[in-house]
Every structure is written in structure tokens, then in C-alpha cells.
Symmetry: C2
Subunit: 71 residues, 2 copies
Amino acid sequence: MSDFQFEIVKHIKTLSTNAKGWSKEFNLVSWNKRAPKYDIREWDEEHLKMSKGITFTEDEIAELKEGLIDI
Amino acid sequence: MSDFQFEIVKHIKTLSTNAKGWSKEFNLVSWNKRAPKYDIREWDEEHLKMSKGITFTEDEIAELKEGLIDI
């Protein structure tokens, strides 16, 4: 994993935390020093291990916002 | 895959569509006939194949909404 870098640029919101201490979070994350992307995935308490997740562009976040208004 | 069932109960929003025709969608999906959950993942055009994704409880969706207001 030495060639894989990430930085949680901004923690936006914790959506939930499970019994094992992993939390589902909405963050702004930079992968391999690239421009940060919005990101939803689960993290361990130390934010060293992560689950597979989904990244979002600004446009996708705008659509998601609209979708959330409808429900 | 015969023991795996899903139904897109409600299509809420398409967030984006890529060059291969797969779209990132925000849906309400029932897995194996269980109560439907909010769900974000990518689907092929026929909605037969899917990527790994994230499901959300009502509470997680409420937190996500709050997070989206902040950005």
C-alpha cells in the first residue's frame, strides 16, 4: 500500500457508527494527492482502514442534493 | 446469482452517466425481498448489472441531508 496515499481534507458528517467502531462518513478526500472529491465510505476509528466507497464530483453532489429534497 | 434478488422500488435520481452507459443512481432498493433501503451505486443501462455501492438507513439519510446543507 506504499504507493497509495489519501488525506481526509474535510470531515463533513458522520452518518452512523457501528458496534465495531467503524463509522460511515461523508468527507472530502484527496486520493494520491489529486484534487479532493466528495466521498462516502466506512472508516475504522483511527481512520487508517476504510471500506470500499463512492466518490462524487461537484455535479453528482448537486444532483444528490436535488434527489434528497424529493424524499 | 439465483439466490440473490433485488428490486428497484423507486428511482430517485440519476447522478451521472458515463461513456459506457453506466449510471450512478440514488434509488430505493429492496434486497432479497427485505424492506427497501436507500442506495447509491452504478448500474448498467438495463439495470441488470451493478457496481458495489452503499446503502443507507433513514437515519443515515437524515445525517447526509444535514451534511449537504453545510457544503
